[in-house]
Symmetry: none
DNA sequence: GATGAATGAGGGTTCATTCAT
DNA sequence: CATGAATGAACCCTCATTCAT
């Protein structure tokens, strides 16, 4: 008798599937969703058309898997960052910085999340929206928690500004030729500064005093 | 016989071209670039394939025209808004608000500029980038002009945050069901507040009164 | 100015369409629906994939067109045959004979109607059923009109026997090697004899008298 | 150790094979040959692709097995029916009725024999033809035996009419919604009546009484 | 014997683009 | 200038079949 599925087989399957996902990530990021063909992914993976459709229902579904995976990794980063701080403000700053560092370290994933997912059907764009919106919701929640100022009439808007600032800054950074990009850490702290100020919390001590503000 | 080209013919040509552009705008915004086919545009325009390729080199080129046009209209709005104010800060605020009001009033154009252009090749994405970057450059310039704070090490980053906040807020607003969208004006002022604060210029307690603004 | 559609163009279109239909008829009859590919039809027609899908929504639709056309031609034959006779019995006989002669003269069409259409989806099998059933209904009507015997409890059954006899005889005839097929006319009269007797009307004079029947 | 093949193994093999055949029968009848995939059969049988190809050379071969089996069962029914009667005419009537009752009681098998087999290659259509032809030959033989009338010039034709009537009637019956089908027995006797008349043997006025039948 | 992952030829179909009319 | 019929490369996907485990 032979095992229904041996652990070894299981491992090989996982590996193949992963290879397809990884190759697809690179191709999607480099050439875009539409210019990446299934034959391409298959060829670069050293796999076959049949294998592709054994692992994924179709090209769109593969992309969706990718996106969900990225969403989870991002969420994981954010949770970790937040768990590392006690104060809400420090948490928000940490989250921004961690997110930017993560995206900068994983540019292909960043491109897929920020750019490619934007215009695709089949629940992809809405999954992207879900991910971004969930960030915005966290920001909004924090915003409500810490605000000393009178709250904006519509904190959701500020929250989306926050998210937009983060992702657009990353987009800008990714668009720069790799040779003269500023260090990701600087982008991270700059964006954090912009956003914290944006919600009324100038991050550094000396900036906190209103009388030192521009006048 | 007739002149090589009569003024009347000129006018009709222009009209046809315009109709194609307008129909395409709507279709691209509604269905996305890839799901909009040339036959569709042609059919809805009451035109013909031949006409299409007489006026535009190809589908991509049509989209590019659209995008450039939108870019110009947006720039026009910004210039007008800026021209209406004297003080740099007031100009920045005015620009943000005008831009948001314009995009909210022209959602199809907004979708094309913000979403559809993002993932297209053939110089489209780079044209989009150029439009957004030119906004960012204006912001950066203004930023350098007004800042009394120690400038951020990299003002370009703050500038891109600014732009990202604007466009992402609009994107959020567009994604809401039209029935329960907040008034565009509120979005405009909220984003302006966020951004001005982001660059270190929080409006004074009573935000509305110009005399209390940082100056 | 040029005509929207010139008569000449119209004729060329009709011709092309016809050529595709004709080639498809032959291929479907020879190789069956599933083993006939669109590229095959296109190649033999000296046409192109694009042209194929310009004229027909898809392969199935082409087949359906074919089937409907055959159905109409058959109906035309039947109507002609019936119109040529006054007495119901003579009409029935004429219809059977004409139908058989027609099918024998158009074996490809016969194969498509009798065989290929049987197992196809997309409304094809039901169209076939429609055609055969309409024959059966005519037979049933005639049956009710002429019957002197006590009518069968369920004349629809006899009617379908009639139709089955006709088509199965043709199928048998088509399956014979062309070299030793009996003349179609003989098949026609033999089937007519079988069917008329089947409904209680021995066709020949000497057979009509019951006392002369087999005993 | 174990015997090369124990009786128990034999039995399990037979059972598996049977299960594949049975599931395939149902699927072929319900969805048609082409829309039934090997994975489907395998999944519904709780078996595996490998097992499938252990028991059958390929999909076509499985179908052929099915068809041969059905052919044998039908032949068995016919033989039984004939054995139960002495007089040729009674035998012919009994055969028709038994056949119809059998097909009505086994609609999946009927569909496979009558419909699905019609358009398949690989010797399937010809096997179907053989089955039907063998019925026709029996009919023809009986026809020659009993006929007192001048024989038709081509008794094979009448024989095929006979067969066509039977199968087409069943096909008609199968196509009716199960809710308002006439009883199979009525179809059987109606078809028998039609066919016996068709070959010149009308049952006497009171059809049911055997002593009044032509003899 | 049994499994199911892997193969890949080949299918139908789409659509941007061309060009004879 | 205008038309729309015609092109064909290229796509995504299916599924019968094989074979390493």
């Amino acid at each position: 008798m032979v095992y229904r599925t041996t652990p070894r087989m299981e491992r090989r399957k996982a590996k193949r599937r992963r290879r397809l996902l990884d190759v697809a990530t690179r191709l999607f990021a480099d050439r875009g969703y539409h210019k990446t063909t299934v034959p391409m992914i298959v060829a670069e993976s050293g796999s076959s058309t049949g294998a592709f459709y054994f692992y994924f229902a179709n090209k769109e579904e593969l992309f969706l898997q990718l996106l969900l995976e990225i969403g989870e990794r991002v969420a994981g980063q954010l949770n970790e960052a937040i768990a590392g701080e006690k104060e809400p403000l420090a948490q928000m700053r940490a989250a921004v910085e961690r997110l930017i560092l993560f995206l900068a370290a994983n540019p292909a994933e960043a491109r897929i999340l920020i750019l490619e997912a934007t215009t695709l059907g089949g629940g992809i764009a809405s999954t992207q929206a879900e991910i971004l919106t969930s960030h915005a919701r966290s920001v909004e929640k924090a915003l409500r928690a810490i605000s000393e100022d009178p709250l904006p009439e519509d904190p959701a808007i500020a929250a989306h500004c926050w998210v937009g600032a983060v992702y657009h800054a990353v987009r800008y950074w990714l668009a720069l030729p790799a040779s003269n990009r500023p260090p990701a850490a600087r982008v991270a702290s700059e964006v954090a500064r912009f956003n914290l100020r944006g919600i009324g919390h100038p991050p550094a001590r000396e900036e906190r005093r209103p009388d030192q503000r521009s006048e």
